[in-house]
Symmetry: C2
Subunit: 329 residues, 2 copies
């Protein structure tokens, strides 16, 4: 039996709560969310589990230390600068951490100082910290790394992800710009406020696993434009407006592009897919026709990682450092 | 730099030698093969590397203990009863072991006493023992286990492998019955002398990883029959003769078939593929069109597992117990 704390009960967090409440072998012992609409209420109500869970959502993390818990499932923000203090707080409270913070999937890539700080704090506290999720954390980094096990030689690694955002939650549809004009999109993109977080982490994770010295990562970001009107459960996109993103990250090794991560995520996808292409000996082409629903799968990965994280050595780890998480009962 | 011993320099072993000789980061320091045609000769000649390797193939393992080596790459036989003494000898010599012995991929399935004996010997010697390869070891067990990480629920796991044996080595073509009459095949099959080794291990590995209590495994074996004459690099199969095997292993859990491993391996394959189908939340269908050449990929896995095995805790491990092997340089 693993005792879990839900740190962050937002759009993704509530899905984790619902799955955890159903899962044999998990006991929910705490929850934290700063949202005044959630704090003080029963977690089962907040997450619409259909029953009370007997756990009141705390407005802050001050009570974490006194909770008997194994691991905090952390789902608040995408950037390390925003979650650094939260993570250090959980670590100081002596709990393992599984976080969907995108930059935590491989923080050595962009934030080596914070990565070191978290690693040392985790070592000192004897806890393990893992950043994971579907992307970054699985489809565009862990899966190609795992598939490369079959290869005597690897010349290049490409991943093409075409993700149907029409089936995803509203914050994600907003985040990819669905419904914006192309001008709005480009203006926000120039300011760095658009685009998927985590491709640079995925490139660095692949390069590190394969022993390639990454010279630099070049990323491009373009809007996908609606050819006709599109209606999702949450919003409408007129023809000519933005349906989502097309983002490509290229990892340059020895002056050559050896890693290409090509991500389209929009609300007008006709054929979703997740395809890994390794050019090597043997070459490997592996595809998931229809693609993977990122929210559903992220919930799966977070819960499935719990036994691996609890029994791992202390410190800040990446997915490649653990025995493979898998579904467990 | 990892120092390796090649224990077994047969059809598969020589391919591992050639790849190891090319690989940066590996140093070949020893070789063992009982075949009088090989023992006493330079390993580079035996394996047709194109140059001498300065390593003489020893006729037995008596000199292993005095070799400065990290790991023995063991490729001799499929059955644990046949390799038990060899493995215990390597362990006693204080070397880690990576073996393609099919039953070693998950020996708890069929040979729990030998598994325990090897595990305890490995613990006592402080070395790690891993059974791996493409199948068992990867495509029909490790890959579905790894893909299940995305699932909140798993109802069943199926793997369909259609492998083109026309591109494989002669011993493998013979082993699957290519060129036999159906009567010869069935007579040998009744005696237990036909069929792929390892499906039962793969079923048990999946069930164990997912926490399912396996009641029993039911296996069927049928010959694939040539509709027209087929010629491979090594042999000819007339219409009506056997081209290979169709073998299915079903894992029964709670009275239901929850694992199906469906393997066709023959010399008249039109569309090779390796497909994993998980019925769950989410359901996952992942396919490798064209399939994977088992020999080439087994060589890859064996070499790629070296760093993981060398840094693993001692004992007998399965692929699911290690951080994911991946191509390394």
């Amino acid at each position: 039996m693993f005792r879990v704390i839900h740190y962050g009960v937002g759009a993704l967090g509530v899905q984790i709560v619902r799955a955890a409440a159903r899962r044999q072998g998990l006991q929910i012992v705490g929850a934290v969310d700063t949202d005044p609409a959630k704090a003080g209420r029963d977690l089962g109500q907040v997450a619409e589990v259909g029953r009370e869970l007997g756990v009141i959502v705390a407005p802050d993390a001050s009570g974490l230390g006194s909770l008997q818990a194994d691991v905090a499932l952390h789902t608040t923000r995408s950037f390390l600068l925003s979650v650094r203090e939260q993570l250090l707080g959980i670590i100081a409270a002596g709990k393992h951490v599984i976080s969907t913070c995108e930059e935590l999937a491989f923080p050595a890539a962009q934030r080596p100082e914070i990565a070191r700080e978290i690693h040392e704090a985790a070592l000192a506290a004897g806890v393990t910290v893992l950043g994971t999720g579907i992307n970054p954390g699985y489809l565009m980094d862990y899966l190609p790394i795992t598939l490369s096990a079959m290869c005597q030689e690897v010349h290049s690694v490409s991943v093409v992800r075409v993700a149907d955002a029409s089936q995803r939650r509203l914050p994600l549809q907003r985040k990819i710009g669905a419904g914006m004009t192309p001008e709005e999109f480009r203006a926000k993109a120039v300011g760095g406020a658009m685009g998927h977080i985590g491709l640079a982490e995925s490139v660095a994770l692949i390069a590190t696993a394969l022993g390639w010295k990454l010279e630099r990562t070049v990323t491009t970001l373009e809007p996908e434009i609606a050819g006709e009107d599109v209606t999702t459960r949450y919003l409408e996109v007129r023809a000519g407006q933005v349906t989502g993103i097309h983002q490509v990250a290229r990892g340059i090794v020895d002056g050559q592009t050896r890693i290409i991560l090509d991500l389209s995520m929009h609300v007008a996808v006709r054929e979703a897919q997740d395809t890994v292409i390794i050019d090597g000996v043997p070459s490997v082409r592996s595809t998931i026709p229809g693609g993977i629903n990122g929210d559903v799968a992220t919930v799966g990965i977070v819960l499935n990682a719990i036994p691996r994280v609890v029994s791992a050595p202390p410190g800040l780890l990446a997915m490649k450092d653990l025995p493979p998480p898998s579904f467990w009962t």
